[in-house]
Symmetry: C5
Amino acid sequence: MKIRHVNAGVFTAVEDLELTLTPPAEGFYWIDADAEDLALLQPAFALHDLAVEDCLTEEEQRPKIEIYDNHYFIVVNSIRFDDEEIFLRALSVFLGRHYIITVTKQKISELRAIKPILWEQEVNEPDRFLYLLIDLVVDNYFLVGDRIEDKIEKLEEDILVHTKRSHLNEIIGLRSEILWLKKMLGPQKEVINILNKKDLRLIDDQLQKYFSDIYENAVKISENFDTFRELMGNLREAYQSSIANRANEIMRVFTAITTIFIPLTLITGIYGMNFDNMPELHGRYSYFIVIGIMITLGFGMFYIFRKKDWI
Amino acid sequence: MKIRHVNAGVFTAVEDLELTLTPPAEGFYWIDADAEDLALLQPAFALHDLAVEDCLTEEEQRPKIEIYDNHYFIVVNSIRFDDEEIFLRALSVFLGRHYIITVTKQKISELRAIKPILWEQEVNEPDRFLYLLIDLVVDNYFLVGDRIEDKIEKLEEDILVHTKRSHLNEIIGLRSEILWLKKMLGPQKEVINILNKKDLRLIDDQLQKYFSDIYENAVKISENFDTFRELMGNLREAYQSSIANRANEIMRVFTAITTIFIPLTLITGIYGMNFDNMPELHGRYSYFIVIGIMITLGFGMFYIFRKKDWI
Amino acid sequence: MKIRHVNAGVFTAVEDLELTLTPPAEGFYWIDADAEDLALLQPAFALHDLAVEDCLTEEEQRPKIEIYDNHYFIVVNSIRFDDEEIFLRALSVFLGRHYIITVTKQKISELRAIKPILWEQEVNEPDRFLYLLIDLVVDNYFLVGDRIEDKIEKLEEDILVHTKRSHLNEIIGLRSEILWLKKMLGPQKEVINILNKKDLRLIDDQLQKYFSDIYENAVKISENFDTFRELMGNLREAYQSSIANRANEIMRVFTAITTIFIPLTLITGIYGMNFDNMPELHGRYSYFIVIGIMITLGFGMFYIFRKKDWI
Amino acid sequence: MKIRHVNAGVFTAVEDLELTLTPPAEGFYWIDADAEDLALLQPAFALHDLAVEDCLTEEEQRPKIEIYDNHYFIVVNSIRFDDEEIFLRALSVFLGRHYIITVTKQKISELRAIKPILWEQEVNEPDRFLYLLIDLVVDNYFLVGDRIEDKIEKLEEDILVHTKRSHLNEIIGLRSEILWLKKMLGPQKEVINILNKKDLRLIDDQLQKYFSDIYENAVKISENFDTFRELMGNLREAYQSSIANRANEIMRVFTAITTIFIPLTLITGIYGMNFDNMPELHGRYSYFIVIGIMITLGFGMFYIFRKKDWI
Amino acid sequence: MKIRHVNAGVFTAVEDLELTLTPPAEGFYWIDADAEDLALLQPAFALHDLAVEDCLTEEEQRPKIEIYDNHYFIVVNSIRFDDEEIFLRALSVFLGRHYIITVTKQKISELRAIKPILWEQEVNEPDRFLYLLIDLVVDNYFLVGDRIEDKIEKLEEDILVHTKRSHLNEIIGLRSEILWLKKMLGPQKEVINILNKKDLRLIDDQLQKYFSDIYENAVKISENFDTFRELMGNLREAYQSSIANRANEIMRVFTAITTIFIPLTLITGIYGMNFDNMPELHGRYSYFIVIGIMITLGFGMFYIFRKKDWI
């Protein structure tokens, strides 16, 4: 747990938790805690039981906001990229009149990135801190959109160039990833909407127009998911068409083989007939001539089909 | 029948129906009735015959509003989820100057959920009660959208992974469910629009802007149905393509079998010819050698096709 | 021909056509005429020749508005439902300074429905009468949208469940109906737009904002036709895919039959070979054994294919 | 070349070109010229070389506007319908402070249609003349949209009812026509936008809002081209699906023929086997019985397939 | 390196770099540099290291803006067409209070085209110069849209008329080109947005509304990419359908060949049967008659199929 007194963007480390319980003359306290610290913080700041429970759970958290009497509890999901993979890390925030408590289980880059911004903008209030933090978190979401779009584009090109059955699994995997992200990020919009619209005691009225800026961004992001759905539809179609065309090609080869053998079979049929008078049957080399003709005919047809690019 | 006097969100139970016939000094009366109570309520409040008839019918009710001289009659459909199933329960409301009568056949959760809200907002007028009630009802509709979308997504994935003929029934069932919901929930929008736009005597002008908020939500919900239609189109396409591809696979197996047997048949044809001079025919083991060649050739082709992933 | 003096929504029957030629002290005259009455009305009100001609024609009328010196001529199409069928009935209106003449060939329900509305709103001017009449007419158009959408949905379900060739005719019939409605109802929008925008002498400026309300409705209706086009595209696709899949099924049966017979043919080929040494040929029951094997094999394959749901 | 002095919409023929070189006391001069007259007009009004060159070229002209020091040069394409065909006729306009010169190679109906409008609106300035002329030209474009849409709808119906290979040429022809129209009419929007937005010396500020009305129309027309693209996509899809289904039908007939002959071939195979003990072979009428059975079987299968509507 | 003093759009060549380090009495300095000149310019103007590094890199540059203390660094991509090919050339700009430095590796036509505009508009400030330069650059982007659309349309027509396998490569090539352009041009929008929205010291507030004009254009261009995606989807579908139809045609020929030979094979089967009593076998010319019948039958079927346009 790190406690800092923030005044006009200037940080002062605070050792004693007791100090933070009373409002400072100027600025506010920022307590950067992990899950274990909550045992200490809960009684001190009278944090709500349900909120603390949410911070401690091992499950994935969907974004939410809870309005309690003397503090608000907000959960947002921060995004982290690791190679191709997208990870979500829940960031829980308790916003009070003179303090802000951030609770995280793993390091969240936005908490580091926010420091110079606080300094630059000479931030003095915890609600403004909250706004800047959510702004940073939501800005990263746009990167997700680009990643997903890149993945879809790449997969579509793969499918066009050479379809494999395993592409279906990739499509389904990508679909699940998109649905998961939609579930985990989508409600963010509602959280920001509440911060934006509702007449909240702990959020300064001046800040609301800023929140409406983030809200617009969140709406844009959620519109991305419509684009993804469309792209995934294209992908599915491209895959199914490719599979059908590939199946057709195989069928064509099979049918070509049959087509080459059928006339040969007819010839054998002809010389298998039992007519009394069939002069060819009695020639010394007839059999070999006919076999020769059949081989010529077979390879001839094969050659023609090949040349016409039919096989 | 439960009668309550509501004053600034505070409830007082009222025993005597007679009392509710005259306006109270402050607040209003809320009568929570079931269908049978209407026999008593109709003469007392001069409720319109057609409205009472609508309350008593066993049929599904589409949302509507009827403007009578001294009261309005509103029907909305409340949603309840039971496992995967969605149920609708009609909620009929008579709104008068100093009273509101809610008529239900089954328990409706919104009628329980509204009590703390009334208290919090110190509600004092029956029209405001109506607004809050419809707000609760409409808010639940958004959950329907998520459920339906989930069902569609799940079905699409099922179809992609392994298409079955029974999926067609599921698609058709889902379509009917969506159309039914559209029919039962869609007109809600019009009802709210009337409450929102028309110059109504019993609705306070201040409330209209709130109703326009619900109206926006109702419009969003009805836009969901456009999304569903698009999704169902995708689903149908995915199903038909999958069925076609599956049919292709079976055809491929059939054709492969034919393709393997055709060259063998040619060989039998060759040795069924009646040429005088066919030296192979007279070898002692010729027959067995040819049979061996045929078996080798057949399995050879099968092995090659398999290896090329053609069967 | 029925002549009425309308004053603040109150109707008084007028017997003498002469009276209507001069403006009344208050209110206006409404002349409800049929085509034959025009012989009398044209000279009396100096109605324009072309307009009267349009009223008398037997052809379908597209909506239009003509601005003449002392009167306007408006044609709108009223909708009537008869079972599944949609009928259009032209309603021609001559709007003058102190009179309105409605000309119809068949009964139009809107002309009956307008009476209580005139009374309720205490209508006193012919242009307001016109507005209310067009409002009624356009409101009915929304019902058309629902009907068409229902028909499309029903047809799509039919196609999905069991495609028949006759569905193509239904699709084409539905397309023609939609195109016909689009042609007959679409220009309504332009007519209302002219009433809405142009600075017209006979239309009170106050009324313009009401006309812009109807205009919005007319625009919504014409947007419906875009939806229909999309739905019809889906329908066509569903039909063509179903037909293709059905054709595939038949092909599969044909191919299955061939596939069952080909191995049997091979067996007959084998025992039709002319090798000197084929011991099986000389067994007493060989023939019957081979026939038995062939029957077993044939039914065996049939049974396997059936079990795998391939036929 | 016809020269007219226009004053409050009243036309006076002017014989002497010299007169038009100095501004009239009131109104303006309209010179209706053809390409040859430019030899006279160019030196008199100091028209720009490049502009005159554009008027004289035989090539199709894309809409454009050129701003010169003392006059503007505008090219728009007027539309004319001849049966099914759409023709474009370039209309070049030189707009000066006190004159407007219209240059055409062929008769353009808008130049006739504009006269009563000038009179009605008592037009007194050349820029207003220009506005009304472009308004007329652009209004006609809407008719193009209807024509093209009709053609597409008709072709789609043709394709659905009975697909022919020649339909592909019609689709490609229609595509080219749409692309050509898009190229020739699309830039009109930019021309009007310049007249609408730019601070032009020769265009009265009051007129700008009128130009913004035409601009809106031009935008609507260019949106039509998006609709056409979508419709053409549907058309292509309908055609390709139909062709595929037609190919399937032919395949089905071929496959049916094969399917009928295969079992008969099996029978001949059976009686072609060389078993010593095949009692049927020795019956007097066996051969004829077998041939009879084969014929019966063949026609029987044909009948069954036909009855099942498989062929 | 060319140094010019720009005052009210008038250019004066400046020889001495030293002069440019102090603000001129009026106007500003424009330094048109190439990469090597940066060695001199960096220390003189205290240009930021990272920015200079970006100018020197050989890699493609994505558009960006960097805000440094005393200058801004902006990279935009200028477009150049060479035949069918589209080339991008990075244009780096350093904007200071009294100077603007443009750094290019190759000639950029916009830097020539801007001179008359500066003169016409009597430009006096470096930020206005920047605005006009970016305006020119972005205006050219619209041409890209047309080119790409033309390419897509042409390819689609080619595919419809005669599909070749090589079209797939063209589709994939076009897709890559579009994705590349999207990556290289898309972020321009964000750059302009920052110039447009952020409260920047070096950009005059008056200019912001102009930047919002360019921003709108940039948004339109990025919407083009959505259109391209849709068009490419159509293209892919057209290609896959065409390939499928072409495969069907080949299959049809194969199947037709089989269908012609199967009945002939049946005939040989019949006369290969070993019945004792088969009178035809013993005719002198029977064999030749049967061969004749078979030839007639074969060509007859071929002729019929051809006539029915089945092959």
